[in-house]
């Protein structure tokens, strides 16, 4: 056990994998000599060398495509997008080459794509995106989104061990703000949901940075007993855990930071409306960023990103329903 930040937990998982498995290599822009835009791979190049901690050209399509090639001949590449937003430039290789490979040819593509995502620090429209729903809609790609240091490490280990393409959504805003006890050594966190706080009057379903928001918003909400379900994995989606929480709480608020339309939260809400309908004691309320690019200026960004107040308000209204 050691106390680590979310970012340190990610680094530690990568370091452990590089030590344990010679097939693993990390590749991306400025991750070697510089140690990565967020310093996740700081110092790695000294321990593992520039072959396994590879500074690549500025070319996202190539990063994903080359990782696929390396994976099908036996390596375990972990790609870093400098910001999740830039996956748009490697989108085709990810969804059409990596994602559809096993279904079409029975050929496994064990790659992990690390996506530093999310807003909250004036990153503006191109450094604040949460693209997970794009991958959820593309068959063949697993998607995980940790909210704690412990899960960040465990999910990254599991992602790298997984024989499939896995998008690892690491939220930039959690990097240094979230700390926690992290078990030593290599361990896998299952791709299932986690009850962040049990409750019985209402459940807030969320993931990534929204878990903290949900926890503080509902810490003491007029004494109501509010559960917070941390999805952790978006593909596979833990339908059982979701429906179980709905059955126990009967009222649901779904929160995600991504733009509202067709977001992960839309899928969760649709699932509940279809399979949890009889357990519902009220509308399935959603809180998400409205359908606008994430603006740069603090007052604008604050008006767009789901915050504690909006979640509080949504829960209060639903409780009063």
């Amino acid at each position: 056990m050691a106390t680590m930040t979310y970012l340190q937990a990610i680094s530690s998982a990568l370091r452990d994998e590089l030590r344990a498995d010679e097939r693993v290599l990390v590749m991306g822009e400025d991750i070697g000599v510089f140690g990565g835009a967020f310093k996740v791979t700081d110092g790695f190049i000294d321990e593992f060398g520039s072959d396994r901690v590879m500074d690549t050209p500025l070319a996202e399509s190539a990063i994903i495509g080359c990782a696929v090639g390396a994976a099908v001949v036996g390596l375990r590449p972990v790609c870093e997008m400098q910001f999740a937003d830039f996956i748009s430039c490697g989108f085709d290789q990810l969804v059409n080459v990596a994602g559809k490979m096993h279904y079409r040819q029975g050929l496994a593509v064990p790659i992990t794509v690390r996506l530093p995502s999310g807003g909250g620090f004036s990153g503006g429209p191109f450094h604040s995106q949460n693209p997970e729903a794009l991958f959820m809609h593309s068959p063949g790609i697993k998607v995980v989104a940790p909210s704690t240091a412990q899960d960040a490490k465990g999910l990254l280990h599991a992602a790298i061990h997984d024989p499939n393409p896995v998008c690892f959504m690491e939220h930039k805003h959690l990097y240094r703000r979230v700390k926690g006890d992290v078990p030593d050594g290599v361990y896998e966190t299952p791709f299932t949901a986690r009850v962040a706080r049990p409750g019985s009057d209402l459940v807030v379903i969320c993931y990534g940075a929204m878990v903290d928001v949900a926890l503080s918003a509902t810490e003491d909400l007029d004494g109501a007993s509010i559960e917070v379900l941390d999805l952790r994995s978006l593909v596979p989606l833990d339908e059982e855990a979701i429906l179980d929480a709905v059955a126990r709480c009967s009222k649901v608020v779904v929160v995600d930071e991504a733009n509202l339309t067709c977001a992960a939260g839309a899928q969760v809400a649709a699932l509940i409306a279809e399979k949890g309908f009889e357990d519902l004691d009220g509308p399935v309320v959603r809180v998400a960023s409205p359908d606008v690019p994430i603006p740069f200026s603090p007052p604008l960004e604050a008006a767009v990103l789901p915050g504690v107040d909006r979640v509080k308000e949504a829960c209060r209204e639903l409780l009063a329903y």
Binding site: T56, A59, A62, A108
Partner: protein, 354 residues
């Protein structure tokens, strides 16, 4: 044995430094099989037995046959839509190919993907995706792994003239050049991208670009299977000995429409006529006749093989609807690509005397 006036003498044909007679026959066989299978598939398509669309490489057989023949079992290939001969050389049987076209359970993708979109992972091939030329990056990544592990292997892929306009062409060429990777890029210049002629695709022949990426670019007669072999063999030698990538431009002509539905109205008749005279199969057949090979018997053999394959494929079942949802994800352990067949006699000879 046919000996018409056109037949050259063995002296005129001459020995080939790297190809023994058996190899030269193998090359011819691969081309005959490709053409025969594609012709058969086309007639099955006309009979409604091949769903979707159908693409062939009529007239381009030498490009895939010659290049694939130079690859060793441990090399890895991404084979494109005009390159059936490469699958044949790696060991995919005519029955499995025809089953693939017909979407049968016995096809290489068991009906998951269509027509030319396949590759046998057990034979060291990654099946192409439609998005062109995405596979250039996959090949580059395989070569990167070989170099990182210090293995004397190479990756090879094909792509068309039109595909060179897309970003992935550049990202692959640049990455391969920067890392000096053991990869062979075969640019299949068949004069058209669907209906689009070369001058609408690029202002300068892309082979000129290789130098600007820091590696060798060579232009080859894509209708001469032995010339294709030579170019690929040299490129492979360069690759596995640390010399970096090679861009081989194979100049050829797409003699059929882009796909079954395409009447090719946009192609001047003379252009087709002119290229007919350079048919790669006729040319190799002439060579072999000159070397005393009974090419008629060879043709008959191939036809018989295809007849049998077609019958077997037609007798095969369609995939079961229940199987449609299986296998989106790999459940067990991931298994890398296996080794392919590599008929070239050179691989059974000491490297020095290949």
């Amino acid at each position: 044995m046919a000996t018409d006036i056109a037949t050259p003498t063995p002296e005129q044909v001459g020995e080939h430094q790297h190809l023994q007679l058996a190899d030269r026959i193998w090359l011819h066989r691969a081309m005959l099989l490709m053409r025969g299978i594609e012709e058969r598939a086309m007639s099955l398509y006309r009979q409604g037995k091949v769903p979707g669309s159908f693409y062939d490489g009529f007239g381009q057989e030498a490009v895939s046959a010659g290049a694939a023949f130079a690859m060793s079992p441990e090399d890895r290939l991404c084979i494109l839509h005009r390159d059936l001969a490469a699958h044949i050389i790696r060991g995919v049987t005519p029955t499995r190919i025809l089953s693939q076209y017909m979407g049968r359970a016995g096809g290489v993708t068991a009906g998951r993907d269509g027509n030319v979109h396949f590759g046998d992972r057990q034979l060291g091939c990654v099946g192409m995706v439609s998005m062109l030329p995405d596979m250039m990056l996959v090949a580059t990544g395989m070569a990167m792994a070989f170099k990182l592990r210090g293995e004397a292997r190479c990756a090879l892929t094909w792509f068309g003239d039109g595909s060179t306009s897309r970003g992935d062409f550049h990202e692959a060429m640049n990455w391969a050049g920067v890392q000096k990777l053991p990869v062979v890029f075969v640019l299949e210049n068949n004069q058209y991208a669907y209906s689009t002629p070369l001058d609408k695709q690029f202002a300068v022949d892309p082979v000129e670009r290789a130098a600007a990426y820091g590696f060798a670019g060579v232009t080859v007669d894509g209708n001469d299977v032995e010339a294709m072999f030579d170019a690929a063999r040299e490129a492979r030698e360069r690759a596995v000995s640390g010399g970096g990538p090679t861009l081989i431009e194979a100049v050829t002509m797409r003699m059929h429409g882009h796909a079954a539905h395409d009447d090719m109205k946009y192609v001047p008749r003379e252009q087709v006529e002119e290229w007919k005279l350079r048919d790669p199969i006729d040319r190799q057949e002439k060579r072999l006749r000159g070397l005393g090979v009974d090419v008629g018997a060879l043709r008959a053999e191939v036809t018989a093989e295809i007849d049998a394959a077609a019958a077997e494929a037609l007798a095969g079942p369609m995939p079961s609807p229940e199987s449609a949802l299986d296998g989106v994800f790999c459940a067990g352990e991931s298994e890398p690509l296996g080794d392919g067949q590599a008929p070239w006699s050179g691989f059974s000879r000491p490297r020095g005397d290949r």
